[in-house]
Symmetry: D2
Subunit: 228 residues, 4 copies
């Protein structure tokens, strides 16, 4: 059994939502595993650090951390050690999410160090030019998310298709090995299908699943959209 990412991919950021904390994180991760098994689409979840161990022991889908620091293990208090995330069951991490933006030199260090210790880097970007810059650092995945659409329900893949296609094009030019996800406002299968048509390998999303009235139904629709 492999727990690495495959494409198309639906990656779900649990943020610090109450619904996705503690037992809630386990419950939602099980829904994600269920949908992944039934649809064949890779679904990865990114719980908080405090839930990584709890969730990773209960499901067989890829677990991501939401952030990792670049420090080596040692005298660093309150930091998010990537070796600890790996030990707790994460196979990779989001990096530079728009709610946790990093210095350029940190993103460089983090993506290099993740590669060395065998973690998959999913670097978030907010513009096409930032995406081009990150592509030059050689991460595994780039997730383009215009911050003003995050949490709105207005899907980037429909409201601003050009930002997705332009980002895919420039990343392919600079570093064709990088997978591209898009995010912000994704709630439906048709949003994911639109993303695929624009060249994305999947989506990064959060409230569209975590806060859905019926997370199972919502994710089933999303995964089916990824297959189309």
């Amino acid at each position: 059994m492999t727990r690495g990412l495959t494409y198309p991919l639906v990656a779900i950021n649990f943020k610090t939502y109450v619904e996705a904390t503690g037992e809630g994180a386990v419950r939602l991760a099980k829904v994600a595993e269920d949908v992944s098994l039934r649809t064949g689409v890779c679904v990865a979840v990114a719980p908080q650090y405090s839930d990584l161990y709890r969730v990773s022991g209960k499901v067989r889908i890829p677990i991501l951390a939401q952030h990792v620091d670049h420090y080596d293990p040692g005298a660093h208090t309150g930091s998010s050690c990537m070796e600890a995330a790996k030990e707790a069951g994460a196979i990779g991490s989001l990096v530079n999410h728009s709610e946790h933006m990093l210095k350029l030199s940190e993103i460089d260090l983090i993506t290099q160090k993740m590669r060395q210790i065998g973690l998959t880097s999913v670097v978030c970007t907010n513009t096409t030019s930032v995406s081009a810059a990150v592509a030059a650092l050689g991460p595994d995945v780039i997730a383009i998310e215009p911050p003003d659409l995050i949490g709105t329900g207005i899907p980037v893949s429909k409201a601003r298709p050009e930002i997705v296609s332009d980002t895919v094009a420039i990343i392919r030019k600079i570093n064709p090995k990088v997978q591209v996800l898009c995010g912000a406002g994704i709630t439906k299968g048709e949003d994911v299908a639109a993303a695929s048509r624009l060249g994305a390998s999947g989506v990064l999303m959060s409230s569209g699943f975590v806060k859905a009235r019926d997370p199972l139904a919502a994710l089933t629709d999303l995964a089916n959209g990824a297959k189309s």
Copy 2:
């Protein structure tokens, strides 16, 4: 069974040391519990976020987080949510450790919010004047640690007794309810005993236990020093 802090207290910061990560964190926490039961001295441990749940399920001593953010649960990626720390078994947290210093307004928000949700705040300070400032915010505990002595093995309670006694005096004047710990360079029972004689209610330490050749022997000595 209560899991709150009692005094004298030996509080141990696991930082992100390899020895105190994952199974290592559980093993060291069990040593801490063992010493606490045998000596009757309260021993609290502060593992990484990724180990809070894993450790709190295995031992009956107070578990602290190493840092908490002030954000309420919600759309905050990669942050250290105090509600999540509580859910994972922490009864409180270090705040403003010298390896994770915070803005004054954040310390204000964090200590207030911890009080509201029933978490114990252990605010770290680096000078006597900073300790006085923090006392005015009304935390539960202040841990004074001169950063230049951290990790040196030169105990603050012997090398700079006046910084401990001055800090105890000014905190008592501003807010007599606050408990005072001291830290930096603490490795032996006599260092803890010296701290007690200066008015401290215990110590905050890290490598003196985590990196000790024989953590059980080291902590037994430290706890006995706290009782003397």
Copy 3:
């Protein structure tokens, strides 16, 4: 001729408003000097770093920087060196403005270092408890400004009189040598008079003067309010 602060004081933060940049900063500083001479009320102005030298050579009122870093002169690029601010004509500086909040340990270092090199510290605070904390650090002046009222035209001294009087009371208890200003929403003389009645030694303000249609008339009214 002294250029130190006297009380009652009207302190004006030029921020980076276009109207208060370059020649605009000189023009507004001259209006401030004019009103100060005519009313006998001390008016201090805080232009941007790039305008400190330009403004200080043209007027004889106290000039404050808007921020100073704690670094000593040396290999620090792009920082706000307090020795350089002094050399450019500043007699002191705002510290920890709500638009430039600092770590507690930085505020401690900065206020100590300002005292050593003879600069007057005006530390901004956002709550009564933060004001109490800062009082313990021994700055020269504390300016309490609830951030949600800044720039609104709703004067803190009328909308929330208790935050001003409570802050004055707790600062007097902890450190009676500290002068207390209040700010946020101050635009009229009656706002300043209300602040005085609550125990404040003056006000810290910005857009009420900088963005006024008639800055001369506005400041004359404000200064007269300070005298009443």
Copy 4:
């Protein structure tokens, strides 16, 4: 008379060195102008914000700021407004110096905004991969400086020639319009000549001029090295 940058370029960061503050900044800028006029090599200087106006009025060489923030003019206290730097006589600015590193999204915003208002961006980088990333953002100039060599007197162009040539190569591939400087440890003309042979258009330096016993002799040697 143009005050823009031309190549080969010797750019000098005044940092917050005592020798390069206030009248010292003016004196050193005059030395730089003198050398530039005699050798025909463009010499730019980057004084502190507090000295931009004072220096720019006295010399006819390009003046750079050491840092600019991305905020538009307005309610931003203590920030480094690029419009104010321009008003004070700067023709551009260093960005992301290793002593003032920025978030990737900030570098993106700053370089775009500098282009819009007609300022020249000199973005500092610490590694070849970071240089590649910055090239994708389209700044005017990239200055590669390995931080561990800064201030050592060990010239990057001799100690690590491959980092300069690799950086030049990857930047040319991603964005051939970008000029490349190198820095760290540069003190002699032969260091500059070595940089030129590796493809750099000049150097960024600081203490090799500012702290030189004879700044005039040191800079004359450096400028002559740039011509060779």
